[in-house]
Subunit: 269 residues, 2 copies
């Protein structure tokens, strides 16, 4: 079945973090319908094995395409790190990850000392340092696994001593490397970008994945002739999770920035 | 197939937290072989729906019994809260949870103002307050969801400003209730019991689930005539996870307190 121009843009993540990417795409492309899948039955991906993440990602992406998605955005750094190539091979719609557009932007800006904060899976994959080095041979990259930011943000702790202690613990080694930019390589982290920026100071540029990815998706969909044309007529966004809890409902609204309704879809039952 | 006296004691948890219970049982019953299953593909259970936790628990428990387990210990408060009755009904071996023995111990000690720290699923289930009230009508129970302790402990942060900030954040409302005992109703928490005790002071008694449960399991297995008799001949403990990562291997050893080897078992594949 060929992708239809008025089909939704599919996105998925292990949970609600990818909703920051969904928000940025909704802002950049207000005429497009979004179909979001949060794999909350397997959340978080950051601690799972590459094989497991690949298996979940393929199942979800096929599901999104079967529901009419005209493109699939892997709105999760862990899945982008280990499952992107398998998805490109398996799907016949455009697939976007949250890594390559960011690598291109770092190269475009000519940044030379870049720090990366991400989950264990993303950092361990080494995908950012290796791609950044290919894009700019002179670049110096330091990466740190900063996994505690995820549960802290999901607990809605967006200020105060716990967030300060967690950010400070990760900021100390980062400062020692004198980076001139910090890449927030996890879709959750933009939620506390301001607090991270305040701690690191103005001399460290923060790179916000969602905006960079949204711009890339917009350009590529236009190139493929896949942009919806009747912007006033789009269908309502759809938000699906593999295991529903009221807590996800609450946090999802905060990540997406507006009232939404999560629907449960037993993809794994 | 009737349970054999020299079969292993089966235990399961969403991850490695239940290894604190396994440790206590291994110490209390050194002649017994343990068969531990960590459902790391679905970790953590604390954020999952009751239906999902029940489904995972039944599949794992049947798996343990099929591997020869003569008893099943639900070494996880979230699963004990929502899946214990279903397991008792489904299995023909003794099933133990990590709630009832603790409730009995609180009643036996005559404690009257009890605080509870647990995951969201455990606290939301209301199972501890309701069972404690049945055991002692005069008891005053206050429960708080303290979910951040889990990822902090799993990150091996067992001292310093991050742990202090997290414990302090949860200690403030607990102190306001003037409890005379605090029940650590999550199998992870005993790992930082000392730090919690230092913050709350000596006038608050800490109840350690693993020891209480181990004592109960020992008494009940003896009652059922299921204790292994040749203590010097026991087979090596077995540790299985549903998704293997090197990080689990490292943290598992810390929780169990000795070098162990995790094996992956694709129960869900």
């Amino acid at each position: 079945m060929p992708a239809r121009v008025d089909g939704p843009i599919g996105l998925f993540d292990s949970g609600v973090g990818g909703l920051t990417v969904a928000r940025a795409i909704a802002d950049r492309l207000p005429g497009e319908q979004l179909l979001y899948f949060g794999d909350t039955a397997h959340l978080p991906y950051g601690d799972k094995s590459p094989e497991a993440i690949r298996g979940y990602s393929l199942a979800i992406a096929h599901h999104l395409v079967s529901l009419g998605a005209k493109a699939v955005v892997v709105a999760c750094n862990s899945a982008s790190s280990v499952a992107y190539e398998a998805l490109v091979e398996a799907l016949d719609v455009p697939v976007f990850n949250v890594i390559d557009p960011v690598v291109d932007e770092v190269a475009r800006l000519g940044l030379e000392r870049v720090g990366i904060w991400g989950t264990k899976a993303t950092v361990k994959s080494g995908v950012f340092p290796s791609k950044l080095a290919k894009a700019n041979a002179k670049i110096h990259v330091s990466a740190w696994a900063t996994p505690l930011l995820v549960p802290v943000i999901e607990e809605n702790i967006l200020s105060g001593p716990i967030l300060d202690a967690v950010i400070n613990g990760y900021a100390l080694p980062t400062e020692a490397e004198n980076v001139d930019a910090l890449l927030l390589a996890c879709t959750h982290y933009p939620i506390v970008a301001k607090q991270i920026g305040q701690r690191l100071g103005e001399h460290v540029a923060l790179l916000s994945t969602p905006q960079i990815v949204a711009e890339h998706v917009a350009l590529e969909l236009a190139k493929h002739g896949l942009l919806h044309t009747e912007s006033l007529q789009r269908a309502a966004h759809q938000f699906v999770v593999s295991d529903f809890t009221p807590a996800f409902q609450a946090i999802a609204q905060q990540f997406f920035g507006e009232v939404i309704e999560l629907r449960e879809d037993h993809l794994w039952a």
